[in-house]
Each structure stands twice: as structure tokens, then as C-alpha cells.
Symmetry: D3
Subunit: 256 residues, 6 copies
């Protein structure tokens, strides 16, 4: 059920029996020469809408812009400053509680949002308003991701390329996949961007000249479909699990 398509009397019916919502979040930021800047919010929205369709839970409209200052050196990257992003997501989520929503899954596809969503979730939970958790699609299917790709790539790599090949194939510049690989950083390890244990980089451009990592030629729409199906299933399971919890059990434990 997609909130923006429903009228208020129809939503009233939903709230009679349910109190869970998916909130999709991504980013609008450079994803190399081969992928659209909307990559992350496209993925988040597609997964959240699909999971909502399959499960019947409510999905809100997408928050399209996230915390992406580390990609700003590349044309068109949009971002919101971190404190503002947190307050925005908190306000938007907290106000959902007015209608009875008491558990939210942030369907996220941008690594840069993770810690901020955790912080917002803590605020909502510590004030006993609501239980909101962050879910990052690829963290729900780590084995599959590892299995499908030699070098899965954290940003603009084969994993995200495959997802867009599946979700919105017309937006993948297939003729730029080799450029993406050759102009970026293909291999890296724990030491990349570190000195004596400290992360010394702040921006993507510090590590990769064209903004992306990994071997994009390893991506196919079929792999994308596998990822999409597997992640959607995880998300539906998570929603079912969450809907089945007692609200009290989701709230903070007592002091020892």
C-alpha cells in the first residue's frame, strides 16, 4: 500500500489494524559515468514499494536526497547537511506517530545515511515514541552479494549496477561500464585510505578519480534480479517479524 496513492478514508482502514510503515531513503549523488545520480533512491524506492505490494504494509513517499557531501566534487551531487538531515527525518517520522504508526523500517540504499538513521532511531525510541530501524539492502544478503561478484564494490560497483540493470535498465550507460572500471578504483583493502589505523580520507575523490569502485563489467540484469528478489524477501520477513513484536518489547530495557 503506497501512502501517496491512497485517500484518507482508505488509510483510516489500514491504521485500524496496522501500525508499521516503510520509509524509503536514498541519495542523489554521482554514481560514476555509467549510472544515474538517482541510483540509491531508485533502489530504495523499488525495494520498499515491492515489499509493500507483496506484504500489504504501508510505504511512504521516498526521501530522495541524503547525506552525500563526500561526493560533492562530482557534478550534480545533491546533499543535505547531516544535522539538518537528522532533524528532517526525525520530524517526518515522529509526526507519523500521530496516526498510530509505532514502528518504522527505513529502507535505505545509501551507506552515508546509516549512522544518521541509527541516531534518529535512538531519539524516537528513547523518547518512547516509536521503534524505527535502519535496513540497508545489501547487508541483508551478504552471502549472495559475495557469491555473485568477485569484487562487489561499495559505491557505483557491480552490485549497484546490476540492481539498476534490473530496476531501470534504460538508465544504465552500458557503453560506459569499461570506462567506469578503468577510471575508478578496482581493488582495495582495509588499508585503502588509511594511515596507521586512521581513516585519512573524507571524500570519494580522495580514493577514486571517477567516483566509483569495483569491476562494473561483472554486472548483469540477471544478477540484479537475484539481488532484488532476495533483498525483497528479507525486507518482507523483517516487516513480518517487526509487526509481530509487542510494542513494549521494542522499547528500552529497564535500568538494571
Amino acid at each position: 500500500m503506497y501512502l501517496a496513492d491512497e485517500s484518507w478514508p482508505e488509510l483510516g482502514s489500514y491504521f485500524e489494524s496496522q501500525s508499521l510503515a516503510f520509509v524509503p531513503l536514498g541519495s542523489t549523488e554521482q554514481h560514476g559515468p555509467h549510472l544515474p545520480e538517482g541510483t540509491d533512491h531508485l533502489i530504495a524506492e523499488a525495494l520498499a514499494r515491492e515489499a509493500a505490494d507483496r506484504s500489504g504494509y504501508l510505504c511512504t513517499p521516498t526521501i530522495n536526497v541524503g547525506v552525500s557531501p563526500h561526493h560533492r566534487q562530482f557534478h550534480g551531487t545533491m546533499w543535505v547537511d547531516a544535522p539538518v538531515f537528522r532533524d528532517y527525518v526525525e520530524s517526518l517520522t515522529r509526526n507519523l506517530s500521530y496516526h498510530g504508526i509505532d514502528r518504522v523500517i527505513y529502507v535505505n540504499a545509501h551507506g552515508g545515511n546509516v549512522e544518521h538513521l541509527r541516531e534518529v532511531g535512538r531519539r524516537l525510541r528513547d523518547s518512547e515514541t516509536m521503534y524505527a530501524i535502519e535496513w540497508m539492502w545489501n547487508e541483508s544478503i551478504p552471502e549472495l552479494v559475495d557469491e555473485l561478484f568477485d569484487v562487489n564494490g561499495p559505491h557505483g560497483g557491480p552490485k549497484e549496477t546490476a540492481m539498476i540493470q534490473h530496476i531501470a535498465p534504460e538508465l544504465v550507460r552500458e557503453d560506459r561500464l569499461e570506462d567506469a572500471r578503468d577510471g575508478g578504483l578496482v581493488e582495495w583493502d582495509q588499508e585503502t585510505g588509511r594511515q596507521y589505523g586512521a581513516r585519512t580520507f573524507y571524500d570519494a575523490i580522495d580514493n577514486t578519480a571517477n567516483g566509483v569502485l569495483g569491476d562494473q563489467t561483472d554486472a548483469t540484469a540477471e544478477k540484479g534480479e537475484q539481488l532484488f528478489e532476495a533483498a525483497t524477501e528479507q525486507l518482507v520477513n523483517l516487516a513480518d517479524w517487526l509487526a509481530a513484536q509487542e510494542f513494549e518489547a521494542l522499547m528500552p530495557n529497564e535500568h538494571v
Copy 2:
């Protein structure tokens, strides 16, 4: 040109010659028993995307949730508190200046956003970062609106109904148009919701039991198309006018 669909090298080409962007904003809030809650952001997005297609200017993704606490008594209305909304729009817009954007048109379809966007526009202009202005679609074609409808209706009325009949007809509950009219407030004047000159109402529900105003049965898809075409033309004209100004001429005047 839709920012989220482009890759960063492609956007680099745009910024070589242009510095204008459309930013669509709406709301996700009750629009009566006959319209979807996404009505306002659907209209804003449709107009901004169409104007971008026709003119070649850049359009960013949509900000789907706005300042709508006055509709909160109806199921599903989403909103962000006003100070947070302003800071969010400001941060998102200001960061566009990093890529050379120096003029922005907020393509708006929610009355509750107007003053907040004016305030944000002032902040950006007074700091000489950028010239950003608010454009509300129906204010660009007041004669046509008056001509098409007996009672045009400020919220969920025939004007918005017609627009959705044109943009997304599958989302209009045609069988609820009479209910919408009969359960809401059809006629009103300057005195509605006022006492001795003071606006004494704060919420939509203070004036209308089902959240909408006007006579929705007066709407047709054809009227919606007329509105859409006329407003799009105004928006394209505005963008052309704005792109043609000198930046200095857009900045604040000197002290006398």
C-alpha cells in the same frame, strides 16, 4: 533534463552553459475522499518535469513532504515541522550552488509551503548565494482558474481534482466526487473562519468536516489539461526570463 537520471559527466555538460534548476515541492496530505494524499507533490512534479523537458533546464527530484500540520486530523497526512522544513530546503538548495547553480525556481503545489519558501529564498539571496523564488502553479493562471470553475476551491477542490484527472486519472475516485462536495465546505468567503478580522482557525478540520472545499463535480480531465498546459507555459516563460537576467540584477539593491 532530470538530474536523477543523468550521470555526473552529463551533468557537467549542463553546468557548462546553464545555472538554473527547478526544485519541485508539494506535500503528502489528505485531499478528501476522492483524491490521493500525494496530490500536491504529483502536480508539482508533473509540472516541473514537463517544463524541464520542454525547456531543457534541469529539474531535481521532488521534496514530497511539506508543511501540513493543519491537515493532521485526517489519516495519513505527513508533515515536517516548519523550522525543520525551512532548514532542510535551505541546505538542499544552498548545496546546489557548489556546482554553479545560482538561480532556482521552487515549483510548488502546496499553499502551506509558500511563506516558508519565501523565507528560505530570502536567506539565500541575502547571503548572496543564489536567487531562489517560489512559484505556485495556480497563481500563474488566475484568470483561467476563475474561468473554468464556479467555485475553484483552495484545497482538494475542482482545480486540483481536474489536475489529477489529467495527470494521473487512475488515482481519482470518480465515484466519490459527490461525497467530496457534500461532506465538505462548498461555499465560503472572506469571513469564513474569521472573527472580527482575526483568523481564528488553525486546522482544515475547523472549517470542513471531510477536509476539502469547493464543488468537485465541476472538474474534468479536459479542464485539467487546460490548466496543465497553461501553467507549464508560464513556468517555461518564467525560467527563460530568469535565465536571461544578470546575476547582479537578482541580488539585493544597495542601501539608499
Copy 3:
């Protein structure tokens, strides 16, 4: 009853039976070559004090400076940034509730304050602290204003000139009325300062070279007295109406 003139035991008597206060607000900003910069707060204070005298309700001291950045190009205009103004008015008003005040009328004479006072009023009401509403004197007597002046003028025009001629005639530079008219903008319509529906001006100086609008030579002290009497009557009526409401009836409606 003027709060600043009373001692605390005397105020204790008032709070035994009453819970309403007038809070006058204006601005200190340019009003052309013929009017003093205090015009707006002088009007607000005069009306609030007179209504308090006639009705017996409490009037607080005046907030003399408002949200006037749009007049800053003219010497001496004072202003407070909008977010700070809102927080200031909110804090000042909220603290009145400590003494039992639960309904406030902002007696306002500056258009630039209106939306900010609405926002503050919403905060106070949504937190169920208090019911505070904005009242702008000329909006309470629109017919009379239209009747008295050919071109009534939104800022520094004949309407405000007449009020000061009545309230503080020694502060009107009678020999500058023609200059005021000839150096400003006499006639305007909906299109003034707009392009294709968008308000493209941010500052008064964008529209008027000397800061004022309308035909000031149309003003007389007699007209000012008529305005003053009519507006005072409206304000007293509003206070009586408000005092007669049940507090619960002033608070937000329940969710449907």
C-alpha cells in the same frame, strides 16, 4: 489594564477572574519621508491600550521591533531575523501561561509579522499551552478602508498616514505628503513585482524608490479617527468573543 503600570498584587486580582491578554506588536522601519519609523508599533500600541482601557482586559508592553529585513535599504530600519523573532515571541508568550493566561491576541500593525505570529500561535496551540491569534487592524475593517481611500496603500500609504495623523499628529511631516506620493509607487495591481505568477521581488525598494505606496495626500486625521474607532471596536469585540469561549473549544480537534 496595562501590565507594566500595575503592581503584582493588583495583577493577582486580574488573574483571579480573567485569562486573556493583548500583546501589541509592530515594527520600527522606514515609512517614507513623511512618517516616523515607529509608525507600526505606535498604531499597534495605541489600539491595544485603548481596547484594554475600554474592555478591562490586560495589555502587555509592546514588542517594538519586528520582521522587516525587506525595508533595510532605507536608513534606520530595525529588524530581527525571522527565526529569532518567532522564538522570542513564543518564549515571551508561553511564559505568560505561568500566571494563568491561556488566550492571547497579538495586536499587530505590520504585515511582515503575520505569518510568523501564525506559526507561533500554532506552536502554542499544538502544545495545548494556550490559544494565541494574530489580529491585524486593517483586516478587521476592510470595507471602511476601501470606502475611505481611493488607493489605500499597503505600506506608508494613506491608511497608515491617517492613523498617525490621529494618534500622533506631531509625528507626521505634513509638508512631505506630496513628496511621499510622487517619489513612491502610487498605483499597482496583482502583477506588480511578479513574473508569470512568481513574486520576484524580495525588498520594498524593488518596487518603490522612497519606500512607500499609494496616495498619501488622501489622508486626514478625521479618517484616521474613523479607522481607529472602528478597529478598536472590532478588537474589543474579538476579546469579548474569545474570553467567552471554553478553553477546550479553542484547542485542536481530535483526529477523525
Copy 4:
């Protein structure tokens, strides 16, 4: 010269040769059974206006409400929370710099404002915007105050009573002077309200049942006139001294 009474062209003449302004600040708070709640802002305004008249320097309208939560237990005390007060005074003052004001004297008559004005003054000076200093009337004439009164009293005592007897005699409840003395705290020393060196009181009511200190029957209008004249002279001298300084000499010293 009183800013609110002037028109903008007249103020333009002032700014051609001068850059100093007085900003009067007080409070609206209980001052015992014998004095009006406006006592502090009445004193500040009277001194600032008189000094402006005698010296020709500019005086702005008064900020009538200050930081007075410690008097809130008494009916009618108004206050603004300290962080909001600081931001308000800062914004109001900083914006004066737009017209060329680069030195401000806060003419203050409320002890509770002192530290906040110091903090605001530091912000303005450290940002090299302006040099603003706090001046508390009685601190400018300590010997005279000591000479005139046996027990001069920090709040609502004979010192403030005498000032109001001089400035606004109709507002002094002469028949309550003995009550004021007998119901309050007449004598105190360094240990009052302290335990082992710590100030353990937060509110006026912790020390005095009727809100005031000292022997009010020791006040006369003649003493008030002496105080008023002496303090005004000090204030004019301070303004002349300040106007004569080089701006650079008022800004922070260099790092050693």
C-alpha cells in the same frame, strides 16, 4: 534623537556623521506592592531618552522584557528564556550595523540582563561587527547611591523607588511603602542565600516574601532626581568617550 520618531531621510543625516546608538533594556517584572512591574524598563528608557536628547546621539525603542524567571512566582512577571533573549538582542543589534552603527550602549536597568548583554557584546566584538557594551545605571554612581540610602536595596528598594518617584510619580503606591518594607527583606549581607560559599537560592521568593529588599520609606522624589541627573551625566560622558574612540582601538587585541 529618538529613532522611532524620525523618518528615514532624517536618519540618513544622522548616519552621515555618527555611528553610535543607545539601546534601552529593562524588564517587566514584579517590583513589590508599591512599584509598577515596568519599573526597570521605565528607568532605562527615561535615562536613554534623556541622554539622547542632551547629547544628540540616537536612541532606539526599548526592549521591554528581559531575563526575569527568578521573579516568576509573583503575578504578572514577564520573561524571555535566556538563550532566546541573547539571540534576540544580538540579532536586533547586529542588524543595526547595516546602517553604519558600529558602537552601541545597552542602557540597562535590570541586573538579570547584565551577563547576557556581556555575552552578546562579546559575540558582536569577536566577530568584529561592532563594539557594544552594557551600562547599568546604578553602577555608574555607586558613591551617590551609598550616600543617599542607608540600605540601598538591589530590587524594588529605595533606589528604584526614588527613581520612579521622580520619573513617574503617579505609578508609585505611596501608601504601600511601609508594607513593602515590612513584608520584604530589609537587611542582608554576603551570607544571605548562601551556604558555605554557594549561592543556594535561584528565585527572589527564596529570600523575600513580597519580592523586594531594603527600606522603601527612605526614598523621595528629590533623591530620585539626584540619581537621575547624576546617572544621565555619566551616560552622556560615556557616549562622548565612546564616540571619540577609533574603531580599531575598540576591537580585540592581537594575539601576543
Copy 5:
């Protein structure tokens, strides 16, 4: 009992019977050529830890940096902006209430922190969370300070020198005591740094070339020990007094 040295089960025992904590605060700022920059936090920590040892009350770790912008012209002075300092101390203190702490003594050795701690204490008390008070060591023993030194010196003077000679003698540059005296300001009175009653200085360097005041050669470790013993005794007495109060008696009085 020092919180940082205890394990959580041990602290659980404390909270079973006690609800008081010492929170030491100082500064890290220039103290002339003879004293270490940590002078103030060393003193605060030594006193708080000693009082905790003798009395059995809990002492938290020290907040080492305070509000010291007025010493910034001298190398190494650290400071936190005042609004941030207040929010930090408030958050740190308020969170102690989660474990049952309901009364706190800020053991302070930096004059620049005093008013900020008072403001924080008011916030905590007015929200009825906790009763927190500021205690400045030298204000608890004014007679002894006056008795021991001819010119006791408010900053880096003999009083503080003697304390460090006692607490951490290895950190006193004994060979620089005469330099300290000769390069600073030895004598001053009420008029120092004032013009016509207004404090016209903002920074230490405005009054003293090497940052300190008074005659440092008058200090000895023996005097320091006397001060330390006397102040510790006062602090223990204060804690005993505070622990013996009813919580309700520490909260704000009712409205009259």
C-alpha cells in the same frame, strides 16, 4: 568515591543510599608565565576529589575546558563557546539523573564559568529534574583569602599560585614569580577597566600585559595548604547540608 574508578555494580551500591555528586569544572587557559594552563581544573579536581574522599560522596571526572575566550590572546588558551558549554554541562548533568542523582555541586575554579553554571542549574531546577548549584572555592573562604594576601588577585595571582604550590608544586615556575608580578597588573580597583560605570574591557589582555594580576611573590605552599584545607572543609559541609535537604524543598516555590 571517584566514579571513573568504580565498576557499575559498585556504583549501584552508592545509588542505593545516595543521590549527590560533585562535578569538578575548571578551565585550561593562560595563567601567566609562572603557572600551568591547567591551574583552574587542577584546583577544582583536587578539591572535589579530596572532598569526595573525606565525605564518601561521589565525584565525576573533570570537565577540563571552560568558557575562556577572554584569555585567547595568550598561547594555548583553550575554550568552548558559551552556548555550547552550557548545553554540554546541561546534557552531562541531566543524564546523571537517569541513575537517581538529584543534587549536584559544580566544584568550580574558574570565574568565567560561574554565570553559565547558574544558568544550567536553573534549567535543571525549573524542569524539576535536579538541584544543581555552583560552588567557587574562593568564595567559600573570603575572610581567609583576605587575611593571607595583601592583594589576592583574581586571575593567576597569589591565591591561585599558592594553591598550585600546594597541589602540584612541580608545576609552579618559582623563578618566574617576580616576572609574573612585574609584567602584569599588581593593583587595581573598581574603576579598572571601566568608563563611567560601564565595563569597557572584554579580554584579560585589555588590563594586563602578561595575563595575570596581583603580587605572586606573596604566595607560599603553606598558604596554599591553608586555603585547600579550609575550602575542602567548606565543600564537605556544603555536601552534607545538601544531602540532608528534602528534594521538594530544593525545588522552586509555588506561585504566590
Copy 6:
């Protein structure tokens, strides 16, 4: 060189040739039944002070309390709310730049601080004030940590136990090591505290009954010494590397 022990003329000498500072940060929070609550700040301070001694770089006093709300259910855990913590660290660090510091290493021993320090570092770098990076001791020596312990444990485990056994052996409750192990969570994997990819826990107590993880009986002071020596060496190397960089090379890259 320890800033708090130096006098300002001595620090002047340091700033003549150096512009780097270590800022130690930890937390004060429960570390099980066997370790003191100060564990994290003790480790950070010991490493920073040792590295400063060996290398000659400057070390500031320690920030003893961090972002630890997730340990609040255990007695005595102190914390500062995350937004306040960030602003505090930012203000403290930014003000160091007044003396010429342009690169800072946050010597950190609390995982909960990491992302906040990254955010602060970004603010300082994006404003081109300074280059500040976070260094977490155990991340600098991952192989050694893995080599020394079967189950190294992220909180209160053998790794931290060994460090305190080395740094402050008197603070380790050796007789509680088995309790620590048996009452906590000894083994865990990626799935611990997760559901379908989402982290569903917010507090330590959600995973471990006594607040700690790992096998504490595996710790020895000798292992602690190895860790301490290895980490100190890494930290000195990092400081040398950082001091050798050009400032420009540390600032953000240009837009592509």
C-alpha cells in the same frame, strides 16, 4: 608536551614550529563488573600522553565523557547527547586554530564516538579551518589484537582488560574476570542482534546481561603492554606522517 602543564610563554615556543595536537577522548561508562567506568578515557589519555612524550607533539587535556547512551541501563554510565557532543568537540577544536593548530588527531578509545568525530572532522575540513582525524587505537593494530586473543571482544572484553591491566592494574577487579565472562556474551557473530540484515538492538543490555562481551580471562598485563607499545608506535607514526603533509594537500580536492 602536555598543554595543561605548560605556561603560555612555553606554549608560544611550541607554536613557533609546530601546528599539531593530540586530543584524547574516551567515555565514562560501564565496563562490566571487573573494569572501572573510566576504562576508555584512561586508555585514550595514556596513549595520547605517551605518544606526546615520545614525539614532542602537544597533547591537550582529555574529554572524559562521550556518546554512551547505549550503556545507560548500567549504574553510573555518563553520557552527553550526540548533537551536543559534536558541537562541543567542534567548538573546542576550532578554537585551537586561533593559536595556529591546523591538524588534530582525536585519540579515541570509545567506538561510540567514532562517527561523531568523523562528522566534526568533516565540518572543520570543509570550512578549511583545520584537518582533524579520528584514530581508534585498536583499529591501528588489528593483526596484533587478533593474534593475542581468541575472542577479542568489542566492549569490556580481553583487549580492554589487558590494556587496563597494563596502564592501571590497581583498577582491575581480577577476582571478577570469570564473572565478567560468565555473565556476559562470550561469542557472537554478524547475526547477533540482527534480524534479516537490520540491526535491531540499540543498547548494550539488549545483547549482554552484564554489559560486556568476550572472554576476559584471556587478558594479561603482558598482552596489555604489547598492545600499548604497538598502538603508541602507530600513533607516533601517524603524527609524524601528518606533520609532514602540506596543509593544502589535507584540504578538500577541487571540483572535477
